[in-house]
């Protein structure tokens, strides 16, 4: 029983792999295949944000990461935090409305609706990987070739998927019954973004607030990305272990919340 409850959520990836891959392809195709700039939007949006945030936080407000005073170093740190954050917040944002957007499917077909939030999470992640490639290229050009710790990203991304999916399932299911979620989630994500050390280093946060940051899983994620990409540092095993355990717990809890509520979706939509 307990084993089942823990294992079932993971089986979604295996059992529904065909539907998941179809939905991911469809989302990418319809989101970018139909606009003039096409896949270009994947680059335009993060690069524009990067320029704006760099200008505001580095040039205007003079925030610094470490000792370097170079603007480009700030941009690297910022981008390194922005990439996982955008994957997280875009995935959750789109997942929140994914059930009502696909209401004909949910109401008219026997359909594994858990893949609706899940595929949005994966799409956001696929887009993130493009950002990572750009960052990697830029680092090489700047002469700061990332060393082997760069490869630890492949490990970090797994709990990242689980964490994002778990939250996505929770919000998506709740949004069906509580329409306010569509207002709350974008706003909540903005608050969460500023509460994560993306635009500033954790070091300049007053010591008495650090406990708050340590409760935020996105702090670990952003720090892990920076460690791997910029500081030649693999995440500490203990930290990684805690992050993994927390992500798995959120994933399983999210799945069961969603699963409990999904048979009511057709009644409400």
């Amino acid at each position: 029983m307990v084993i089942d409850a823990l294992v079932t959520p993971f089986q979604v990836f295996v059992r529904q792999r065909t539907v998941i891959s179809q939905f991911v392809q469809r989302e990418l195709r319809t989101r970018y295949g139909t606009s003039a700039a096409g896949i270009g939007w994947v680059l335009i949006r993060p690069l524009t944000l990067l320029v704006i945030y760099t200008f505001v936080f580095s040039t205007v407000m003079n925030v610094r990461f470490g000792d370097s005073t170079r603007t480009v170093d700030f941009a690297f740190y910022l981008f390194c935090g922005m990439v996982p954050w955008l994957a997280f917040s875009d995935g959750i944002g789109r997942a929140t409305t994914s059930i009502s957007e696909h209401s004909p499917l949910v109401k008219r077909l026997r359909f594994p609706s858990e893949i609706l939030p899940l595929h949005q999470v994966l799409v956001a992640l696929a887009i993130e990987s493009v950002g990572l490639l750009i960052l990697f290229g830029a680092l090489v050009i700047d002469g700061r070739s990332p060393g082997w710790p760069f490869l630890t990203l492949a490990v970090i991304v797994l709990p990242q998927i689980l964490l994002t999916t778990g939250i996505a399932w929770f919000f998506a299911a709740l949004a069906v019954f509580v329409p306010d979620m569509r207002h709350f989630v974008p706003f909540g994500m903005m608050v969460w973004m500023y509460a994560t050390p993306i635009f500033y280093p954790l070091a300049i946060v007053p010591e008495r607030l650090h406990w708050l940051y340590q409760l935020n899983p996105m702090t670990y994620l952003v720090e892990a990305y920076r460690g791997a990409m910029l500081e030649h540092q693999a995440p500490a095993l203990a930290t990684l272990g805690v992050f993994c355990a927390a992500s798995i717990a959120v994933f399983i809890a999210g799945y069961w919340t969603f699963n409990r509520l999904k048979y009511e979706f057709a009644d409400v939509l």
Partner: protein, 426 residues
Amino acid sequence: MGHPVIELDDVTKRYKIYKNPRHRAVEMLVPGVRRLHTDFWALRGITLTVERGETIGVVGVNGSGKSTLLQLLAGIIRPAGGRLEVHGRVSSLLELGAGFHPELTGRQNVEMFGTIIGLSLAEIRRRLPDIERFAGIGDFVEQPVKTYSSGMFVRLAFAAAIHVEPDILLVDEALAVGDAVFQHQCVRRIREMQAAGTTVIFVSHDAGMIKAVSSRVVLLDQGRLVAQGDPAEIASLYFARASAEIARVQAAGASVTIGSASGAQEIPGGSLEPQTQLFRHGTGDAMIRRVELLDAGGRPTTAVGFNEEAVLRVHAEYRTAAPASIIGFSLRDRTGAELIGTNTFEEGVTLPAREPNSALTVDFRLRLPLTPGTYSVSSAIAPDRYTRAYYDWVDNALVVTVLPPPSGKAIHGQVWVPVEISVRAS
């Protein structure tokens, strides 16, 4: 005897009705809050066993729980109480094209649909040619679905839903869509599936269809199963109740619709359209090239007045020598029931011997004293009356419309025959 594929034992379905949508959220999220909803029982105490291969017609006025029942059987919603067991793959025609994305091509959508209902990509790709042939939309399968006419959309969606080889097929009045040619095709295909042992559950307001297609009919009223049994009996019971309801509502000065009657139909052309090639079999030594309908003046048409003279013209082409061939036709109503049929042999006409690569045109001059509506014409050509094999047999070669009599006379039943009435007062 058989194996029950569907078993319902005292199944109930309750919907919670909230005065205000936010009450649902409050009830869900705030612990210890009092009840904010009232219950609506969409289904109560439904007990029903369906054997493999049965066709169950479900009738009932709007709001009697028919759609809820189909949703339960489809596994979209769960019963609030009771036991529900469904064995086998279910394909539901509750809404055609549910899940089709306008920006994707027809083929991509069909692949998508297949994976959604649980097929592997390989299984769908194997069925794609059949689906595309049935839909008959040609190269449009490569185009985004948003460019389709509504007719094309329905054809493709129906073709996809019906070609997944379900054990159980659920149909919710989906057949009331599409043009007449397509409707005839759909009924034909459903009958094929019935013959192959598929269990069919369908909801319809069409009494003729219910009686013709189902082996058993279930009548729902306010969420309860009030009667079940012989199709003709239950269907008349339902229509008696429904007309009483109409009378009651009309007396109250409102209007009510029990269902959609098949009204004016798009009239298809007279030549063999690609989709009509679908149900054709035979050796191919001779082929039916075209079936046309001509009015009394010899002009091609697809609509003919009730009991007016008309000509059904069959063009045949021979590839081999045929000393004693026979050409015939039959006419089916929208439920697929064969009403009229004959051939040159039965009518005492001997066709001339034919050389290879020659042609023949046969005119059947007739009257159609049929109830107004659309009818599908099948035509066949056979070597002689003794051989079992056909040269060619084409179903749905043509769809003809019989127009109502100008006098406004009502036709009771499917076929009218001349009647002489004499009255003696005593």
